[in-house]
Amino acid sequence: MSADFLYGIEVIINGLMAGVLYALVALGFVLIFKASGIFNYAQGVMALFAALTLVGVMEGQVPFSHVINAVFGTEIHHFGWEVPALLAIFVTLLVMILFAWLVQQLVFRHLVGQEPIILFMATIGLAYFLEGVGDLMWGSEIKTLALGLPQGGSLVVEDWTAGLGGDDFYGFFIDKLDMVATLVAIVLVAGLIGFAQYTKQGRAMRAVADDHQAALSVGISLNFIWVLVWSLAGLVALVAGVMWGAKSGVQFSLSLIALKALPVLMLGGFTSIPGAIVGGLIIGVGEKLFEYMIGPMVGGATENWFAYVLALLFLVFRPQGLFGEKIIERV
């Protein structure tokens, strides 16, 4: 096999791995959209917030220490202890559940029955709010997330595949972290599907997604389900935040992955979990391949917009995405 062809395959594999990470974020969107009809723009910021909280808890940082120092003139920064990673993840999860409950009680409970666009705006407001709170709580400098996840290219894969090509091919370069992320994503999705299929709460969640009023009439508490769904989205955000944070540091740009997840959603359909995953993979592979083959001709950095244009072209032929429910309108 020629080296060029093999490099193409390497690009595809790396694209698949990147696509898994997009799919992770998109999954959080789909969960909330299905259950409550809210298009949650804040998903990316939730990932950022979760990652910031995780780092803050692990390092024993005092929340809001910047604000306290500025207002009262004190000099406090750390509690002086370090929390082990697992416990910190647990604490962060509690924080995300608390956040889900607060969001439901303070904001979306009052917006039931509003038009979807109003709900969407509210989540943009929420995104701004949460971003500001995250910065005020933990400071806005770039942090490293030291969870002990493996990093760097995998030598095993490289040695193993080096024999495939000629002399100028050195084997596939695949980031170990991407492999871990893929594994975690598979486990997470399997867990979510299991939860939705086999538990009482999961079934209630699907019932609410199907029909709010019918669910209410058989005695399912909408309020509880919505808190549950936001908590699940918080969990997905935490996983996404950990993976992206370990990859490129915990910083503001983390919240922009939400924007990357939007074309994934368009492609896969807003209401379909498999759609989010397949869409993520298509976008991941598509943008890497496009950058590899066409990118050099047009000046590079096409990854910013390629996903959108691909999704846009796609929508012209299938307006509800690959797996979305067919939109039927009646007058």
């Binding site: 298009f39 910047h66 604000v67 500025a70 207002v71 904001v107 009052h110 917006l111 509003q114 038009e115 979807p116 666009i117 109003i118 969407f120 705006m121 509210a122 943009i124 407001g125 929420l126 995104a127 701004y128 709010f129 949460l130 971003e131 500001g132 709170v133 910065d135 005020l136 806005s140 924007l259 939007l262 074309p263 959603l265 368009m266 807003f270 047009v298 000046g299 590079g300 950095a301 096409t302 910013n304 917009w305 959108y308 244009v309 999704a311 846009l312 929508l315 012209v316 307006p319 509800q320 995405g321 939109i327 309108e329 007058v331």
Partner: protein, 358 residues
């Protein structure tokens, strides 16, 4: 008492269809115009112009533009920043290619070019709706900004990748470039704002505006009663982009003087204008002004309170501002989803009946 008609005394069609049916409103309108044109230019200084008045006027144009698309025609757009960039770069190319032509024509032409681009990006709206469309407009945002960063022809191959507004004059007074006086910048923007607002107001209450609103309220029903959705949607995109292009051109030429597409016309700009429209009130020209004023004044106000009075670090105040803007948006949406314009409408209803409400 002061603010009402004492009955329905309209005897002619012009009376019935005038913009401000109540005399008090008419007088207020002329009074605001008179103050804006005859008083403020004489008292304005550099600080007021550059931190409040000029950005307010420019954002008001952008908000009117987006309001036509989102508020009147019901098509949510997140591509405002990209379309402003089209206006800015079109204006720049025209200014450098035809230096002898008056800048007013450049700005208007830039609006026209943006209208064409906007209509092209509006084409998918015929097939896709709602959130799918909102996300699709993001394609415009990212693609256009990337284009202006990567294709050197747009910034005339300058080394920095920035575009700089050359000095241009109207009636012998510089309005762009570093030596333009504050009052001239203010007046240019004011003239454009007045032109745009009057145009928008009259478009929206004519047959075109009615067809937009029919599409917004229910597009299938509108189609059945004979509104052409192709025409209505594309004109909404074109007219909206025309205004947004004008505001982008002014933002670049008059306000900033030098811009770089990614910094000045990024996704945050799209959201900022969208917030103005939402907070001000969807489907209201007055709301566009109110929203723009609110979101221009708020950061300045917070900066004065936080940094100058309390002495907090600038960075922290910036974060606090995010929190406050976010919280305010949620608060407004819960308390008054129809925005500041609705408060104004309610106040007018009360005033009409005052002091005998029954």
């Amino acid at each position: 008492m002061l603010y009402r008609e004492a009955g329905d005394f309209k005897t002619s069609y012009p009376d019935d269809s005038q913009t401000f049916p109540i005399a008090f409103d008419r007088w207020r309108y002329w009074a605001v115009l008179a103050i804006a044109f005859l008083v403020i230019p004489f008292v304005i200084n550099d600080y007021w112009a550059s931190s409040l008045m000029v950005p307010f006027l420019i954002y008001a144009i952008a908000a009117i533009g987006l309001n036509i698309l989102t508020g009147y025609c019901g098509q949510v757009s997140l591509g405002t920043g990209g379309f402003m960039a089209v206006g800015a770069y079109a204006c720049y190319k025209l200014m450098t290619a035809f230096p002898d032509v008056n800048i007013v024509f450049h700005v208007l032409l830039a609006g026209g070019i943006t209208a064409a681009v906007g209509a092209a990006f509006g084409l998918p709206s015929l097939r896709i709706k709602g959130f799918y469309l909102a996300v699709a407009t993001l394609a415009a945002q990212f693609f256009l900004v990337w284009l202006f960063n990567k294709v050197a022809w747009f910034y005339n191959y300058s080394a920095s990748g920035q575009i700089n507004a050359p000095e241009r004059f109207i009636f012998g007074t510089a309005v762009t470039g570093p030596s333009a006086p504050a009052w001239a910048q203010y007046l240019v923007c004011l003239v454009f704002v007045t032109f745009c607002a009057v145009l928008a107001r009259n478009l929206t209450r004519g047959s075109l505006g009615r067809s937009w609103m029919a599409i917004r309220d229910m597009d299938i029903a509108a189609e059945i009663i004979g509104v052409n959705p192709l025409k209505a949607k594309l004109t909404a995109f074109a007219v909206s982009s025309f205004f947004i292009g004008i505001s982008g051109a002014l933002f670049f030429a008059v306000y900033l003087g030098a811009v770089e597409a990614g910094d000045s016309f990024g996704i945050t700009k799209s959201f900022l204008v969208l917030f103005m429209v939402i907070l001000g009130g969807l489907g209201s020209i007055f709301g566009s002004f109110a929203g723009a004023a609110f979101l221009v004044i708020l950061p300045v106000f917070l900066k004065i309170i936080g940094v100058d009075v309390l002495g907090w670090p600038t960075e922290m105040v910036a974060h606090l501002q995010l929190v406050i803007v976010g919280a305010l948006i949620m608060f407004f949406l819960i308390k008054e989803p129809h925005g500041l314009a609705q408060l104004w409408r309610l106040a007018k209803e009360k005033l009409r009946l005052w002091p005998f409400p029954y």
